[in-house]
Each structure stands twice: as structure tokens, then as C-alpha cells.
């Protein structure tokens, strides 16, 4: 595993990380080894986020770096060899709310922690969550909402999942004004105050 690549990513040296990736691949390194280094680096960034050493800028930029590396690596990947995932999660910002930054960070952190995330985007209707849970077989749903107007759509989404008979699906919620009061109000199974909390909750359910 390339320590040089891991260091470039965790130090947020964006251009170096992409250049090192190309150098490694050109020198015969396997795409899988490069992605393993990326995973290691993302784990370090995630841990720093958890301990208060990394913040939103690092998570967002790490996501950008990873996307650039993936664009270089993926054409050289052979089919198959997908990692075994911890579980499937359907994620989205609830109906009426168009904020995506926190949801994107949660999705990113869940992804690098081994979950298969289906991100439905923003302003997602309850029926869309139900339909996607059914089609993917996901057992976890993550509902994001930045504004107070998200409280009722979150509640309606939880109700819609239950009404559709998806009683074995667990729902976690999060966002700017979300707390234990709102968890009780919406009937969700858990709320998380940040992306690491979302990962911890999802792992406890996986």
C-alpha cells in the first residue's frame, strides 16, 4: 500500500494525490492496491473527524480527491471484485427541503465505511423512499433535513414506510434542528448529530 498516496490524501494535497495515483498505475501498481490506499486514507480522515481534528472542509475536499482518483483508476479496473458491503442504505433530504451538503457528507462517510448507499438527492417524497427501499432491499433509511419544515415530511416518510409494511427497516434522521424531540415526534429509530454518529448508528444496525 502506498504510504505516499495515503499521506497526500490525508494532507489534502489534491494535485499530488492524483499525480501519485497516475505514477503508481503507470509503474504497474494494481488499481485495487490504489483503492485500498484511498480507503485507508479515508479511514484516517474519518477518524480525525470523529476526534475533532478534521471538519467539513477536509471531508468535502477528500470526497473531491477520491472522485478524481476514481476517474483515473476505474478505466483500468477489471470487472468484478466488488467488496462485500456491510449493508444497503437509502438516503435523501426529505420533501420540501433542498439542502444537500450535510446529506452528501453523511453519504460519503457511510460509503467509505462499507455501506452501499443509494442517494435519492433532495426534496424526496415519502413514496420515493418507499419505492427505493423495496427495489434495493435496503434495511436502513437515512433522512436528512436542514430546516424546521423537515419535521413533518420526516414523520410522513416514517409513516409511509410502516404503512407499506416495511416494518423491519430502521430509520435514522439528522440535520440542523434535529434532536431527540424530533426523533420521538417523527417515530424514527435514531437521530445522529453528525456524519460519524450516522456511521455508528448504521453499523449498530448492520
Amino acid at each position: 500500500m502506498s504510504q505516499e498516496l495515503i499521506d497526500a490524501i490525508t494532507d489534502m494535497r489534491e494535485e499530488d494525490a492524483v499525480a501519485i495515483t497516475k505514477k503508481l498505475l503507470d509503474g504497474g501498481a494494481s488499481p485495487v492496491a490504489v483503492l485500498d490506499a484511498c480507503r485507508e486514507a479515508m479511514g484516517i480522515i474519518g477518524m480525525r473527524f470523529e476526534t475533532g481534528e478534521s471538519f467539513m472542509p477536509e471531508l468535502i475536499l477528500a470526497g473531491e480527491i477520491l472522485a478524481q482518483i476514481s476517474a483515473v483508476v476505474k478505466p483500468r479496473m477489471q470487472q468484478g471484485g466488488e467488496d462485500k458491503k456491510l449493508g444497503k442504505i437509502v438516503l435523501g433530504t426529505v420533501q420540501g427541503d433542498i439542502h444537500d451538503i450535510a446529506k452528501d457528507i453523511v453519504g460519503f462517510m457511510l460509503d467509505i465505511n462499507g455501506f452501499e448507499v443509494t442517494d435519492l438527492g433532495v426534496d424526496v417524497a415519502p413514496e420515493k423512499f418507499v419505492e427505493t427501499v423495496k427495489s434495493t432491499g435496503a434495511k436502513i433509511v437515512g433522512l436528512s433535513g436542514f430546516l424546521t419544515l423537515a419535521f413533518d415530511p420526516m414523520k410522513h416518510t416514517v409513516e409511509a414506510l410502516k404503512a407499506a409494511g416495511l416494518t423491519d427497516v430502521k430509520v435514522m434522521i439528522g440535520g440542523g434542528q434535529i434532536d431527540e424531540n424530533i426523533r420521538q415526534y417523527t417515530g424514527a429509530d435514531a437521530y445522529g448529530k453528525d456524519a460519524m454518529a450516522a456511521v455508528a448508528i448504521a453499523k449498530s444496525w448492520a
Partner: protein, 442 residues
């Protein structure tokens, strides 16, 4: 309008602050509806004044503005679209609310100018009756209204950038603003040609026509909103007295670069970002002092966003966010303007920075911060406000609201404290509003 006393240049910052507060407290009012209304008004504004002065006073005030400004009309069946488009209709429920609940200070829906937004094709927000469902009011649309490659251009002349680049991008109808001349170069006799050319061209004239029509519509709205405001005052309810502003970093982040853009710029374009925040300082100081003079408001209300806990590290806060913000606030302090900080999210890791500011320079209004630490670190120097959770007002019980408010009243006993919500909410109950208002009354 605030008129500076003749001895302004000899006054200390705190004396200037007193002069601005005097001017606000003693400003002319519309005729009161009754002697009792006048007595209530004087008593209420005097209580707020004592709190702003950090002088002994009988009790805290409860301010509903940041939380319940829409609820007061929603409780009568009005929805978000009405707040944007139906200003005159909001008058009766607004007055009814004040008569029934007798709040300490006035509360009213925000005067969103829906029709002018439509006329000018405003793009940085969406709203009820437009792209949002009718029941909702307004949401910001994050976007990149300035490219990273344009930082230097912005820093060279923020005002020109705003007029010629930002406005055409934010308002579809204002594209021809890009044709404006470079004003500081209008000097020699023939430069009048450069000054006037755009004004003679059809696209620019068409834009001016639209702006004048939108301006007329705005005046109609302001007339309706102003009349409601005056009637609220005449029934005995003063306002808190502030203009809304932001930090240099938040203007750049919220408005020009977007959250993702500016947070990544700290790594990708750190020098350009710093230069832009620095270029903003004199522009902001002039603008806020001018607005404070025009409106006679003693406070500049900062709506604070990207400096909150979690958005950036202490080192990043110290490098990119705090220095220019502090410079602006110190300049305002020198001008006698109190900075009212509406701190969205939590600010537990930033309290020590606020403590660097001079005594009485700040009102610190919290949303989700640790109020025990706030008391310990800030309450001897500054006025404290807030932290009644919007979630509690929306979904908690009346007893829970009562208990949360009682805890805050007890915590800030003997301090200058304003009971407020940390965030706006659409729905609550009359009982919870009453519990909130009553919590500060002995």
C-alpha cells in the same frame, strides 16, 4: 435617521453607543391608540434599553421574532405564500396576536417582496407560490455566483464586482448591469460619454424600466408592511432595533462561492480567499454605519453561518473567519453600534474568541450552544439571548417548553438576558407561545 451629536468626535465608543440607543429609544412614534398603549410602549422599550445597557432591570424580555414570526399568521390559516405575496392580509392576524398575547416586543412576518422577485427573476432563493409549495415560505439556493478564478477581480473592487457580475447572475432581469461603466474613471470632459452610453442602449433601458416597475411594486409592499408595523407600535409594542448583516467570510460563502466552494477554497485558493475577506472590511464597515444612520437602529444583527462548530477547525477559524469579522465589529464598536450576533448552530468552540471583544459590544444570541459555558465566559461582558430549541416549540409539550425557559431564566438571573428561540419554526401551539412569554414574568 441617526444624527450625530456635535461632540461626536470627542465621544468614547460607549458614549457613542449611548447616543445611538438614546436616539432609538426616543425616536418619534406614530400616535398611540390609548394612554395605556403609550405607557406599555415606554415601559417595554425602557426594559429592552436597560438590558442593552446591562443596567439593573426588573426581568428579562421574551422576543418571538427569530422563532415565531410566521406562526403568528399561520395560526390564523395563512401559509408561506401569503407571507411572500399577501402582505396587507397579514395585518389583522398580526395585530390580533399582539392584542391577545401582549408580547414584550413586536413580532411580524419578514417583509419578503415576492412580486418584485418575480419581476426581476431572482434566482438565489425559491419561495412559496413560486417553486416551493404554497405552504412553505422561502429557501436559499446554494450556487457558485463567483468563480474561484474571479477572486482577484472581486478583491480589487468588491462593489464593482457586485454590480457588474453578481447582480446579473442573481437576477435574470439585471443582465445589462454588466454594461455599467467603471465609475472611478469618469474624470475628463469626454468621459461623460462612457458614463452615459449604457443608459442610451435599449437593453439597459429595458432593465431600468423593469427596475422602476419593481421599485414601484416594492414601495406598495413597504407601504403595507410599514403600516402594519406602525399600527403594532401604536398599540404599544417596540421593536428590538437592528439591521441584518453578515461576516466577510459568510458574504463570500453564502452568496458568492457557496458552502462547498468556500470550504474547499481554504485549501485550493487560501491567499485569494484571505485577500477577498480583507477587501470586504472597509466596504462592510461603511455600509453598516450608513445603514445604522439611515434606520436609527442601534444594533447590527449578524446572521452567522460558516464559523459555527464543525464547519471548520480552530486554526481555520483563526485564519479565515475571525480576523476580518473582528476588524469589522471593532470598527462598528468605535461607531457606537452594538453587534447582535444571531449564532445559528452551536458555537461552543468559539466562545473564547467572542470574549475578546470589548464590554457591551455584543448581544450574543445562541441556537444550540452550551448556555452554562456561555454564562461563565460571556455574561459579565455581553447581553445574552436565546437557546430555546425550535424542535421543542414545534414538537415538545407545553410543560417541556415551560421547563426549558425556566431553566434559562434561572441560569441568567441577575444578568442581561433576552429569552429567544435559536431558530425559526413554522408550527407550534398558542399554549407553548404563552408559556414562552410568561416564563420571564414574575
Amino acid at each position: 435617521m441617526f444624527i450625530r451629536p456635535d461632540n461626536w468626535n470627542q465621544m468614547s465608543p460607549l458614549e457613542r453607543r449611548q447616543a445611538r440607543l438614546d436616539s432609538w429609544q426616543n425616536a418619534p412614534t406614530p400616535p398611540f391608540v390609548s394612554p395605556e398603549a403609550e405607557k406599555n410602549y415606554r415601559e417595554r422599550i425602557s426594559r429592552v434599553r436597560k438590558i442593552y445597557d446591562m443596567a439593573p432591570h426588573d426581568r428579562p424580555v421574551a422576543d418571538l421574532f427569530m422563532g415565531a414570526n410566521e406562526y403568528i399568521v399561520r395560526r390564523k390559516g395563512f401559509v408561506g405564500k401569503d407571507v411572500i405575496y399577501n402582505h396587507a392580509a397579514l395585518r389583522e392576524p398580526t395585530l390580533e396576536f399582539h392584542r391577545e398575547f401582549q408580547p414584550d416586543v413586536s413580532v411580524g412576518a419578514m417583509p419578503y417582496p415576492g412580486k418584485p422577485w418575480d419581476m426581476l427573476d431572482f434566482k438565489t432563493y425559491i419561495w412559496g407560490g413560486q417553486k416551493l409549495p404554497d405552504n412553505l415560505a422561502i429557501q436559499a439556493v446554494e450556487g457558485e455566483y463567483m468563480l474561484a478564478s474571479e477572486y482577484k477581480e472581486f478583491a480589487a473592487d468588491p462593489t464593482a464586482f457586485w454590480m457588474k457580475k453578481y447582480l446579473p447572475r442573481a437576477y435574470g432581469a439585471l443582465g445589462p448591469m454588466a454594461m455599467l461603466p467603471d465609475f472611478p474613471r469618469i474624470s475628463e470632459s469626454v468621459d461623460t460619454i462612457d458614463l452615459l452610453v449604457p443608459f442610451g442602449l435599449p437593453p439597459f433601458q429595458e432593465m431600468l424600466k423593469k427596475m422602476m416597475e419593481a421599485g414601484n411594486e416594492l414601495m406598495r409592499i413597504l407601504g403595507e408592511v410599514g403600516q402594519t408595523g406602525a399600527m403594532v407600535v401604536s398599540e404599544g409594542f417596540p421593536g428590538m432595533g437592528f439591521n441584518i448583516v453578515k461576516t466577510p467570510f459568510d458574504y463570500l460563502g453564502d452568496t458568492l462561492r457557496g458552502t462547498k466552494g468556500i470550504l474547499m477554497d481554504m485549501y485550493r485558493h487560501p491567499k485569494d480567499l484571505l485577500a477577498a475577506t480583507e477587501a470586504y472590511v472597509p466596504v462592510l464597515v461603511n455600509s453598516i454605519v450608513g445603514a445604522s444612520d439611515r434606520t436609527n437602529a442601534p444594533c447590527a444583527m449578524y446572521v452567522l453561518h460558516k464559523g459555527a462548530d464543525g464547519f471548520m477547525s480552530q486554526a481555520q477559524f483563526e485564519k479565515f473567519y475571525w480576523p476580518t469579522w473582528k476588524q469589522v465589529m471593532l470598527a462598528l464598536y468605535e461607531e457606537g453600534i452594538t453587534c447582535y450576533l444571531f449564532i445559528e448552530g452551536s458555537y461552543n468552540t468559539r466562545l473564547e474568541y467572542l470574549a475578546e471583544m470589548p464590554e457591551k459590544s455584543l448581544v450574543c444570541h445562541f441556537d444550540k450552544s452550551d448556555m452554562k459555558r456561555v454564562k461563565e465566559l460571556l455574561s459579565d461582558k455581553f447581553i445574552i439571548a436565546g437557546n430555546v430549541a425550535a424542535s421543542l416549540m414545534s414538537t415538545g409539550t407545553t410543560d417541556q417548553v415551560r421547563a426549558a425557559c425556566a431553566e434559562l431564566v434561572e441560569l441568567f438571573d441577575g444578568k442581561s438576558y433576552i429569552m429567544t428561540h435559536g431558530c425559526y419554526f413554522e408550527n407550534t401551539t398558542d399554549d407553548k407561545i404563552r408559556a414562552f412569554i410568561d416564563s420571564v414574568r414574575k
